[in-house]
Amino acid sequence: MADVAEARRRDTTLMGMYLFLASEIMLFGGLFAVALALRLLHPQDVVAASRRLHYGVGAANTVVLLTSSLAVALAVAAAEMGKAKGTVAGLLAAAGLGVGFLALKAVEYGMEIRERLLPAFTPADAFESPAAHLFLDLYLIATALHAVHVTVGVGLLAGLAWRVRRSGLPLPRGATGVEVVGLYWHLVDVIWVFLYPVLYLVR
């Protein structure tokens, strides 16, 4: 009886989260629309500019995020089985990888600043073409916005780990919470999986 109510509450919460994710997708959808438009307006310059980006670093970051998603998935599984330790481990691993992602991103920005690729840190005349400037503007905005999402995600994961640890969140009843945060993290990951080709590999 009680767990029936529990299950309904879980479905309700998840549904709410899915809707929120839908709105997040529309948010980035706007950016993808812009990317498409720039690509159609200035095919060559966009490709040229995207060639200058460090797709190696980007690829590395993709791997990092995918692994973190795996960690989160494991955490969720552990949570449903009521294994606090496993849950905490998974969450912390994911959070750690998230931090790693941000670190890599920071390094990448640094390189781009030195190579006079990053708008806002580079005089307008330093770009090889105006359209390249436009594209890199988009690159900066998109990746920065995504980084903000990663940061939020890391905060959520860490906070959750902490609560499970201090058993402020008894498992498996609290598993829903883990699941919700997990969903958010997966989305952050998926968005990157789309951003990466659109920004780095538009050849």
């Binding site: 200035h42 095919p43 310059d45 090889e128 073409s129 105006p130």
Partner: protein
């Protein structure tokens, strides 16, 4: 409605007449389609007033065929008007070839007009009656919109791209010409007059206007003074394409695409040279964004157009 119109605006073109007819037709349709609502609701409100005896026997509360019919009939009715108005609209995108070409530049908060002969005017546009006129619109800063109520015409003026507006004004007179797109502080006073004159008067007016050479001639001067000729001139040592015979021709680009050298292309070549680099040439042309105003660019384009039929010098293009 038409009488009302004459106190401002008036009808200065055949197109204006057509739009008014279309509008009146639409107004009639709107009345027709809303009549059931406006008549029946008050009528029912009285007839079936609560407590008032009336035959209320077997009142239906659903009927699919009713639903379908009042979904379909109005829609089909509007479709007829859709075809009509879309036809009119598409005409606006097909200026006749022989149309008199005038340039307009919108900038906060004034209109500059250039006639082919080089006559320039501000916030006033003189055109001959009975002759198609096509206005090429450029913006120096934000989006403006050239709106002449008497012509029932309006076209946004978008920075970075040329838009066009064409019309044949047939009734001489002076009509309001305003900016319809909000463009900042003095948007409300960014206006002037459209002066439609008989061809004779227009010719006389052109005479009266002092001008230092035709638009193309002024362009030629800029071409020298701004240093274009330094690279594009026959004598130049820089490896730059000759601009003779360029206009209207296909241009192979460095990236393999081929574009036609229309006004927009010429403009971009001057203000965003890196955007489309002509094949076989180094991308050394500097941008002239901070040097040339849109009006200068239009003059240069007029000049380059005037070279359309000239033969490229020996050597020709390298592509």
């Amino acid at each position: 409605m038409n009488r009302l119109l004459t106190f401002w605006g008036g009808q200065a073109s055949h197109h204006a007449h057509q739009v008014d007819t279309l509008f009146l037709g639409l107004a009639a349709l709107a009345v027709l389609l809303s009549a059931p609502v406006f008549i029946l609701i008050p009528w029912f409100a009285v007839k079936y007033r609560r407590g008032k005896p009336a035959d209320r026997a077997h009142a239906a509360n659903r009927s699919v065929w009713l639903e379908v019919s009042w979904a379909a009939i109005p829609f089909l009715a509007t479709l007829a008007f859709y075809v009509w108005s879309t036809r009119l609209y598409i005409d606006l995108y097909q200026p006749p070839a022989e149309a008199l070409a005038i340039n307009a530049v919108g900038k906060q908060w004034m209109w500059k007009f250039q006639h082919p002969g080089g006559q320039a005017e501000i916030n006033e546009l003189h055109v001959p009656s009975g002759r198609p006129v096509v206005v090429t619109l450029a913006s120096q800063d934000v989006i403006h919109s050239l709106f002449v109520p008497a012509l029932r015409l309006k076209q946004d003026v978008v920075p970075g791209r040329y838009t066009r507006l064409w019309f044949t004004a047939d009734t001489p007179g002076s009509y309001a010409l305003v900016c319809a797109q909000f463009c900042g502080a003095d948007h409300a006073v960014m206006g002037g007059r459209l002066v439609v004159q008989t061809p004779a008067d227009y010719a006389r007016w052109l005479e009266g206007m002092g001008t230092d050479g035709s638009l193309a001639a002024q362009g030629a001067v800029l071409f020298r003074t701004r240093g274009c000729s330094g690279c594009h001139g026959a004598a130049s040592t820089v490896h730059a394409p000759p601009l003779e015979g360029l206009y209207g021709r296909p241009v192979p680009l460095a990236d393999g695409n081929v574009v036609t050298a229309d006004d927009q292309y010429l403009r971009d070549s001057i203000l965003l040279p890196q955007a489309q680099v002509a094949a076989g040439y180094p991308a050394v042309m500097p941008t002239f964004q901070n040097v040339l105003g849109e009006d200068d660019v239009l003059k240069l384009i007029a000049y380059i157009k005037s070279l359309a039929d000239a033969r490229p010098p020996a050597g020709g293009r390298h592509d």
